[in-house]
């Protein structure tokens, strides 16, 4: 019974992942704003373009639903914040902080995530070069050792969250950090490369086998984007 359902579900994912999904291409210029409002950035590749590492159905829901909800909710929270500011309601402004952190964080994190992924024919999975590559070898010994440590960090997240390769803005050194829920990488650390460890990021394809997602995602990591963030 359950295995029949699994097969049906897998089949459905495959069908929807074929390029019936219209995908607009546009530049992904960081977090974009229109008339002061955050907007959902277009992906620089098709929903199905990261297969087989991440299937098209996941990408479609993840981008058009999950990320879009963070954008919408962030804008709503900012509207309320502006109202509270106009009313000089300080307590009301502070009370909005968790919502702004969560939805604003969700918007920032996903925007960075889409950028630091790429299909194989657009450089996905090609190892880093230059100064970032040297920093990785210096800090972790090798790229493979870094990936292994990163995957251990991802697997150790208790609940929803992200793992990031970050750079300390003061010392310049790189390390791996995990963040709960949608907490964004801000302040002392600069985000270099992030992987979404929320269940929605892999469940339709990998279900509970998250270790398989963590190992497959490196096939579509865009190290060129990571290099641009590294200073």
């Amino acid at each position: 019974m359950a295995s029949t359902m699994l097969r049906t579900s897998a089949l459905r994912s495959t069908i929807r992942a074929t390029p019936t999904v219209a995908s607009k291409r546009a530049r992904l210029a960081g977090v974009s704003f229109v008339r002061g409002k955050a907007t959902l950035p277009d992906l620089p590749y098709d929903y199905g373009a990261l297969e087989p590492a991440i299937n098209g159905k996941i990408m479609e829901l993840h981008h058009s639903k999950h990320h879009n909800t963070y954008v919408t909710s962030y804008n709503q929270a900012i509207e309320k914040l502006q109202e509270a500011q106009q009313a000089q309601d300080i307590a009301g402004q502070i009370a909005l902080k968790p919502l702004i952190n969560f939805h604003g964080g969700g918007h920032i994190n996903h925007t960075l995530f889409w950028e630091n992924l790429a299909p194989k024919n657009q450089g996905g999975g090609e190892p880093p070069s230059g100064s970032l590559s040297k920093a990785i070898d210096g800090s972790f010994g090798s790229l493979d050792a870094m990936k292994q440590k990163f995957n251990t960090a991802l697997a150790g997240i208790q609940g929803s969250g992200w793992a990031w390769l970050v750079q300390d803005t003061q010392t310049g050194s790189i390390s791996i950090k995990t963040y709960a829920n949608q907490d964004p990488v801000v302040g002392q650390f600069r985000p270099i490369l992030g992987i979404d460890a929320w269940e929605h990021a892999y469940y339709l394809q990998y279900q509970n086998r998250k270790a398989e997602y963590f190992s497959a995602v490196w096939d579509v990591v865009n190290w060129k984007a990571a290099e641009k963030r590294f200073k």
């Binding site: 019974m1 829901l61 208790q158 609940g159 969250g161 949608q182 269940e199 279900q207």
Partner: protein
């Protein structure tokens, strides 16, 4: 002594509200993983206790809390769900609890809507609970993050709803509002009434049976 997974009646029992595929994965994979990891952590703890290794004992606490929480929460959850066609799935199976709910929230629909608002407000993974204060008939809605269990002294979990994405994603995708609407068709009010009338140790009785 190791914890074991208690079997479900049948993975199809909650259809169409929660699919058999979700139930099978949720029970035999997710819940089982919490149990496996809990037993591993408890094994290490017992070694650390017998060697008086205090730092290891402390270092094991987060893994124990998380995996024991996962085991406790899911054990409570399976029991507080019921096939939708059963008389247990009607709130009439919980007369005293219903009257306490009406007293606190005015009526059942207002309560459910307040509960759902809390469920949908969880940022990340977690659970929503109807909780009774032991000795009083006072009820409250609580949310807990990740696998934090409701084990504080004096609190009795009457029923819980799993808000991890694995609890609904294969069927409802991102539309968790539909999941929290449908869950009310499979709440086991008979079990909820028993927990409401009992003490905390009664609600957790099944954990001893799983050892």
């Amino acid at each position: 002594m190791a914890c074991n997974l208690t079997p479900l009646i049948s993975p199809q029992a909650l259809e169409p509200h929660i699919s058999a595929q979700i139930m099978t994965l949720h029970h035999t994979k997710h819940h089982q993983t919490y149990i496996t990891n809990l037993n591993a952590a408890l094994g290490k703890l017992s070694t650390a206790v017998s060697t008086s290794d205090i730092t290891t004992q402390v270092a094991l606490q987060p893994a124990i809390r998380f995996n024991a929480g996962g085991h406790i929460n899911h054990s409570l959850f399976w029991l507080n769900l019921s096939p939708p066609s059963s008389p247990d799935a009607k709130s009439s199976a919980a007369p005293q609890l219903t009257s306490a709910i009406n007293k606190k929230w005015g009526d059942m629909e207002t309560f459910k809507s307040a509960f759902n608002t809390q469920l949908l407000g969880i940022q990340g993974s977690g659970w929503g609970w109807l909780v009774k204060e032991e000795g009083k008939n006072d009820l409250r809605i609580m949310t807990t993050k990740d696998q934090d269990p409701v084990v504080e002294a004096g609190l009795v979990p009457v029923f819980g709803v799993d808000m991890w994405e694995h609890a609904y994603y294969l069927q409802y995708n991102n539309v968790k509002a539909d999941y929290v609407k449908e869950i009310w068709s499979v709440i086991n009010w008979k079990v909820a009434e028993e927990r409401f009338l009992g003490a905390q140790k009664n609600a957790f009785g099944m954990l001893k049976a799983s050892m």
